[in-house]
């Protein structure tokens, strides 16, 4: 049950899909919105509408276009095509100020960048007014400011004192302060971009109470999230996007969770995955009871010799954290790691590398490569001892030789081994980051989103490389939020949700829909 055939039926999108939404007059209508960026058409004829006093779920896989659509709404782009109507009037939104003046407010996921931590809650809530509406007044009336802030907080039922410093708040409280600030001004549409990702269960409930309150006040809420159960708990309508198209808009009660997943995936182009025959051996690598407070929760996994094990999960599920914990890069993690029956003591990446574990990290430029150094220095970084006499004196000739071999075998596009890595393209930088570990000859290879920001050609090279490693009898852990890659390349999959392993699946008998369902917290009852 490969699950691809019956998906063909759901690809005809847009106009017909917008059927019986909430029947009240629309608060917001975005008509035939299209936008292109150099080389890409990001949105094509998207018709999006939402009504006052409802919460509208906006969902889609990575790159589906939902943030682009919301950015257009907030005035971040001015070169889109299409019309925006509010309350039956045509409006022109070409700048953030115009959006704000119309009462469109957005609360982004990164709350810390939007608040000033060393000011009080009250000052943050009243920030815009202090900056813009003071006129000729030079002095701040503190009492007035806090009184007004407190009345806003009270109206929203937010239990945060106005005189507390923002830096002392929890993440959830910060988010509420941001919402309070957004609502303190004219607010007709409130966009919440992945608001629950960093929140605990009780904090999420607090947030939901606030959302319900806002709904009662007649605010139109657009709720972006990957967590299906939450969307079903709080939203009235749902819009699903895929590849820059709007594929479905409906009352949320008319679509069940597996159906949403189907719409999100659609049918994708087959990517070129190497079809290799691998001999999978005994369990070589085992992780037991891996914990990292607040990030990962009691994870157990194992990898057999020559096996590619996928680590699926959406952004924020804890994949990166788990990879780092296994590699000894987290100071707070605890757990037991065994390789070939030997228990390892891994307290730093240094320990991990000396025990034959390699990690290709997610943030390539920040964690994977030395941008100011040439290719040769980068690829020998993890095994410099092999390129030095008496463990000390560098052997530049041998290093050059090895660098050329890596460039040749990975097809790194670089003038020569002396070129600085910062002058290479993203895909080639990634090849350098991976090449570093090929010289190491480790037993366990961990890849964290290895194809992020990599072009198609380089992707194919990376897949081939990963498959080759497994063929050579290595253990491979492949973490990715691109489910097509997980399905295409792995033998077995662990699905992560909220810092835990939610499900273990055998790739051959599973499919993208099933994996995505577990990724979004579905299927667990």
């Amino acid at each position: 049950m490969k699950g691809r055939i019956h998906l063909q039926s759901v690809i005809e999108p847009t106009t017909a899909a917008v059927s019986d939404l909430s029947c009240a007059a629309p608060l917001l209508e975005m008509k035939r919105i299209s936008i292109s960026f150099p080389g890409v058409k990001a949105l094509t004829d998207v018709d999006f509408r939402t009504t006052a006093g409802t919460a509208h779920a906006l969902i889609g896989a990575n790159g589906a276009g939902k943030s682009t659509l919301m950015k257009i709404l907030s005035g971040a782009y001015n070169h889109y095509e299409g019309e925006i109507w509010m309350n039956g009037d045509k409006v022109d939104i070409r700048s953030p100020k115009e959006a704000k003046d119309l009462g469109i407010q957005i609360v982004y996921q990164e709350v810390d960048t939007a608040l000033i931590p060393n000011l009080t809650v009250g000052e943050n809530i009243m920030l815009d007014r202090t900056v813009h509406d003071m006129g000729k007044r030079q002095l701040i009336r503190w009492k007035e400011l806090h009184q007004e802030a407190e009345s806003i907080l009270a109206r929203m039922n937010i239990q945060v004192p106005s005189r507390k410093l923002v830096s002392e708040l929890t993440l959830a409280e910060k988010q509420m302060v941001l919402i309070a600030r957004a609502v303190s001004k004219q607010c007709r549409i409130l966009v919440l971009d992945e608001p629950t990702a960093p929140l605990s269960h009780s904090e999420t409930e607090q947030l939901f109470k606030l959302v319900i309150k806002l709904k009662q006040d007649g605010v139109g809420i657009i709720f972006i999230s990957h967590r299906l159960p939450e969307l079903y708990a709080i939203c009235d309508d749902i819009t699903i996007m895929r590849d820059g198209l709007l594929v479905k808009s409906d009352r949320i009660t008319n679509i069940d969770q597996p159906k949403v997943v189907e719409y999100m995936l659609g049918s994708k182009m087959e990517q070129q995955f190497p079809h290799a025959k691998r001999d999978i051996g005994d369990v070589w690598f085992e992780v037991k009871n891996m914990q990292d407070p607040g990030k990962i929760n009691d994870v157990n996994l194992h990898i057999r010799q020559g096996e590619i094990v996928g680590l699926a999960g959406l952004v924020g599920a804890g994949k990166t954290e788990l990879c780092r914990a296994i590699f000894g890069a987290s100071e707070t993690s605890t757990g037991e790691i065994t390789l070939k029956g030997k228990k390892l003591r891994i307290r730093s990446p240094y320990d991990a590398v000396s025990h034959g574990i390699a990690l290709v990290p997610e943030e390539r430029r920040r964690q994977g490569v030395f941008v100011d150094e040439p290719v040769s220095v980068n690829v020998t970084a993890a095994v410099l001892s092999r390129f030095s006499k008496w463990g000390t004196w560098l052997n530049f000739g041998k290093e050059k030789q090895a660098a050329r071999e890596i460039i040749e075998s990975l097809g790194v596009k670089t003038p020569n081994e002396r070129a600085r890595v910062k002058n290479l393209s993203g895909g080639n930088q990634q090849k350098v980051a991976i090449g570093k570990w090929l010289l190491v000859d480790a037993d366990v290879y961990i890849f964290d989103e290895p194809t992020k920001g990599v072009d198609v050609g380089a992707k194919r090279d990376i897949f081939r490389l990963v498959a080759e490693l497994a063929e050579r009898g290595k253990c491979v852990l492949y973490a990715s939020s691109e489910l097509s890659e997980i399905v295409g390349i792995t033998d077995r999959v662990y699905v992560m949700y909220d810092g835990r392993i939610a499900k273990e699946l055998t790739t051959r008998t599973s499919n993208e829909e099933e994996i995505l369902l577990y990724c979004t917290g579905g299927g667990l009852t």
Partner: protein, 331 residues
Amino acid sequence: MNTARPVKEKPAANFAFDFLYKYGTLMTVLVLIAVFGSVADNFLNTSNIINILRSISIVTIIAVGLTVSLAVGGFDLSVGSTASLANALVISMFVWHGQNIGIGIGLTLLFCLAVGLINAFLVINFKIDDMLMTLATMFIFQGVALTYTRGATVSQNMIMPGGDFATGKIPAMFEKIGQVPWIIVIMVLVVIVVHLFLTYTKHGRYMYMIGGNREAAALSGIPVSRYRLIAYLVSALFAAIGGIILGARVMTAEVNAGGPYLMDAVAATFIGYSVFGAGKPNALGTFVGAVLIGILQNGLIMLSVPYYAMDIVKGSVLALALALTYYKKRH
């Protein structure tokens, strides 16, 4: 297949900047020599050249230590104070405690390594910004040196608090260290050894990697904390050697004698970033930087610029070097 990626084309202005960046420092040195040589008669005398080399040797040694701390992405601001401490310790070992030269120097180096250990411990374990932490320890070690000497100058036959004269003698051999040729020989050795270490050994390579991208270095399995510790120990060690040589040269331990070397060392190191386009702290560059400052100072004094105006010149040179370094980083 390996040639497809085009290298960014550089406009002429960029090319000119790159050329000046690479060879500007050396050209400046040559221009300064030419100008001072033609204006001041005895500038190019052998004795004056030796004089310049002697005058920069202590700065160079301290700056080379600072270079190592900068190589790992740190910044040891306490080198001047460490030099003061070493100066006070080594002279007092002889004058107050009558120790021989070996024990005097050995103990001094040991104490100063402890200073490096404290710096490294604070910076690494508490994850405090290197520059801020060593700013604090700079004052601490300066105060320790001051307290140890009771705020007085330590010299032969000094009057002790008890009213007697100090009886210890500074060994004649110790005095030699501060004189030509030894003071210059030591400087040259230090520069060569550190240059070889940073450029041709695995450990030097690791240090530059840590300085270039600490997180990537850690994730490559490089023991980052160990190398940062080593860098601070090296930095303190060379500051101590600088302080000891200072003691040998003036045969006393003045209050905060090492303090002024901090500015010169920082300037020399940052001027050194650009030499031959290295773009990172390096021992040879640091030496060239020290030469530039030394020539500037010597020549300006010959031209009767008062010594008290010298800081204006040195500070401006440092500002220029920093501007170049940071401009280069962004382009």
